[in-house]
Symmetry: C2
C-alpha cells in the first residue's frame, strides 16, 4: 500500500489521468510532471497556510526534474475563491512568463484546487494543471473530476469550468498536519461514498482508520467511476455524489460561511436525506442509525447550530434549487449503497427533515 | 438574397451549429433559439453603441417566441473586455435569475462576442450562447469558431475559453450602420481569406461588393472549414487563419490600442507576411501586388503610423511569440490560396519586412 500501489486511473478517453496516492508523494511531483510530458515552466499556486509546510518540497522536486517555476501564494480561506483573485493570479502569471506551454501546480485544499484549477482552465484558453490536494476533503473528492470555479457575491461556485487535471498527487502524509476538525470534515465525504455506493466503507470507518492511503484510494475509485460515467453531470449519474448536499449546502449558506465547515454541513444534510429516504423510499431504520453512528463517531454535528432557524434553511434550499414544475431532483437511498434521484420529494418532506435537525429528531 | 439561403453549418459533432446569414435576421432570434431547443430565460449582452440600434428588435423577437429575458448593456469599446466586466455581468445575471437553464445572447461586435461568449463559457460552468454579430469583422470571423475571452493588463485575450455558440445569426442589415472605416477593417479579414484559401474572393472584392450576404457566407464557409478541421488550434491547421496576425498584433499593440483598428493592423501584417513569403517561399510579385491593391482599394493602411518605431514593433513580436529554440512559427503563402506555417523565418526577415512598412517598401 501507499507509494508502491498503482495509481487510480480516471478513464476519460484522451482526458484520462492518474491519481497517485501514498505517503511522501509530493517529492515525486517533478517526476510525475515529466511522465505526463509537461515540458514548460510550472506555476505553483498555494495558500498562506499550506505554503510554509509543503511549498519547498514541491519546489525541490520540480527543480530536480529540471523545471523552471514560479510560486503564487494567496491568503488562506474561502475569500480567495474570487474573480478578483483570478485576475491577480493571471496578471502574476503573465508577469512571470507563464505562457501557453506552461502548467499549473495546485498545492492545497479545496479552495486552492478550485481556484488554481479555474485559472488553469482559462489562462491562454486552458493550460494543464496538476492537483496536489493536502486535505482529506480534497483528496477524496474535490481534486478528482475536473470541477473548478470561484464564488460570486451571489453564491458559491457560480462561475467555473470543467477542466480535468493531467494528474492528481495525493500525498497522504500531508493529512497529518490537519486539525482533527479539518480531518473529520473530510470523513463526511467518505461516509457519503459509503452511503451511496459502498457500505463496506462504513464498516471500515467504524473500526477506526488503519490505513489512510487505502481509504483515500477506495474513495477515489468510487469518485472516478461516477466521473467516467458522467463527466459533465449531464446524465444524472454524477449527481448522485450530491447525496446530502442539497440540504447541506443550504445549511452551510444559511449558517453563514465559516460557521460550519463544508463537511459538517454535509453530515447534517445526509441525516436529513436519510430521514427523507426512510419516509419516501423505505430506507431501513437500522441503516439510518448506522449512518448517524458514523457521523457521531467522527465528531460531526447531528443538530443545527443553535439559533439557526430551520425556515431560513428551507428557503435557502429553494433559492439554490428552484422547484421546476413544483419538483426538485433529490438524491435518496433505498438501502446503503443504493442511491438514486427522485422528484417525489415534497416541500413538506424537506421542511420536516430540516425541523428534525433542530430538535435532534432527524 | 440572404434570408432564403440555407445556413452555413459548422460541423463539430455534437457541438455543430448553424450560421444564419441574411438581411433582417435579428427578428428571427427567438425562433432560431426555439429551433435550438433553448428553453430557459435569455440574458442579452450588448454595448452602449449597439443597444440603441438593435436591442429592441432582439427583445421583440424573444418576447414573440415566449422567452423571458434580461438585458445587460456595457460601455462600448475594448476596455469592457475585462475580468472586472465579467464579474459585473455574472453578478447581474445571478441577481436577475439567470441560471443553469438560461442562455446568453451576444449582440454586438467582436468585443461583445468575446466578452459575452466568455461569460457564457464560465457561468454555472457553461451555458449556451447565441452570437448576433453586428460588424463585418465579427460576422466573417470572430463570431464563428468558439474563441472567447477578455484582456489582462499584460495583454489582449490572455484569458478565455473555447465555447462554441449554439447558433450564429449574422443580420447583414446591421452592417449598414457601420462607418466606412469600421466596415473596411472587416474587409481586411475578407482579404485574408482570399489570400490563404480562396483567391476568387479577391477578384470579387476588386469589382466592389455587390452582395454583402454572399460575401459573408463565403468567408464563413472558409472559416467553418478550418474550425472543423482543428477546433482548438492544436494541429496547426486553424493557425493558418493567423496570416498577417503575428506582425499585425505587434503593430496594433506597439501603436497603442485604439490607434489602429484591428483590421487595419492586420492589413499591414499581411503586407509584411507577403514580403516575407516572397523572400522565403517564392510568393509571386504580381500576387503580392494584387494583395496590396485590394488593401488600398478598401482604404486600409499600407504604411506604419508615423512615429511608430519599427524596432518597437519587432520587439513586440518577440514578446508575443517567444522564439522557441530560435524559431517562431510563421504563416506564409507560396501562392494566393496556398498558406502554410514555416519555422524558416528569421529575425532578420521580420525586421526587414517591418522596416519596409515604414518606408513603404514592403
Amino acid at each position: 500500500m501507499g507509494n508502491g500501489s498503482p495509481p487510480v486511473v480516471v478513464e476519460l478517453g484522451n482526458r484520462s489521468y492518474c491519481v497517485h496516492i501514498g505517503d511522501g508523494l509530493l517529492a515525486q511531483t517533478g517526476q510525475i510532471a515529466r511522465e505526463n510530458a509537461l515540458s514548460g515552466r510550472a506555476a505553483i499556486v498555494s495558500d498562506s497556510r499550506v505554503a510554509p509546510l509543503y511549498l519547498s518540497a514541491v519546489q525541490d522536486s520540480l527543480a530536480q526534474a529540471g523545471y523552471v517555476f514560479s510560486a503564487h501564494v494567496v491568503p488562506s480561506g474561502e475569500q480567495s475563491k474570487s474573480l478578483e483573485m483570478v485576475k491577480t493570479l493571471c496578471e502574476q502569471f503573465a508577469h512571470d512568463g507563464v505562457d501557453r506551454h506552461s502548467f499549473v501546480v495546485a498545492l492545497g485544499g479545496g479552495v486552492i484546487g478550485d481556484l488554481a484549477g479555474f485559472v488553469a482552465a482559462i489562462y491562454y484558453r486552458g493550460i494543464p494543471v496538476i492537483q496536489l490536494p493536502t486535505t482529506l476533503m480534497a483528496q477524496v473528492d474535490s481534486s478528482v473530476g475536473g470541477k473548478t470555479g470561484v464564488n460570486l457575491n451571489a453564491g458559491k461556485n457560480l462561475v467555473g469550468a470543467f477542466h480535468q487535471p493531467h494528474a492528481v498527487i495525493a500525498d497522504t502524509l500531508t493529512l497529518t498536519s490537519l486539525s482533527r476538525r479539518d480531518f473529520n470534515e473530510g470523513v463526511a465525504e467518505v461516509i457519503k461514498y459509503g452511503a451511496i455506493s459502498d457500505p463496506k466503507l462504513l464498516g471500515e470507518l467504524s473500526q477506526g482508520i488503519t490505513s489512510i492511503a487505502q481509504l483515500v484510494r477506495q474513495c477515489v475509485r468510487i469518485k472516478a467511476g461516477f466521473v467516467t460515467e458522467d463527466e459533465r453531470e449531464t446524465s444524472g449519474r454524477r449527481a448522485l455524489l450530491n447525496f446530502g448536499h442539497t440540504i447541506g449546502h443550504a445549511i452551510e449558506a444559511a449558517a453563514g460561511y465559516g460557521t460550519l465547515l463544508h463537511g459538517e454541513a454535509i453530515a447534517l444534510g445526509m441525516l436529513a436525506a436519510a430521514e427523507i429516504s426512510s419516509k419516501r423510499v423505505g430506507f431501513p431504520a437500522e441503516e439510518a442509525a448506522r449512518l448517524r453512528t458514523m457521523i457521531q463517531q467522527y465528531e460531526l454535528p447531528t443538530r443545527l447550530p443553535s439559533g439557526l432557524d430551520p425556515q431560513v434553511v428551507l428557503r435557502r434550499v429553494f433559492v439554490d434549487k428552484k422547484f421546476q414544475d413544483g419538483n426538485i431532483s433529490f438524491v435518496v437511498c433505498s438501502r446503503l449503497g443504493n442511491a438514486f434521484s427522485t422528484k417525489e420529494v415534497t416541500r413538506e418532506d424537506l421542511a420536516a427533515a430540516i425541523v428534525g435537525l433542530q430538535t435532534g429528531k432527524t
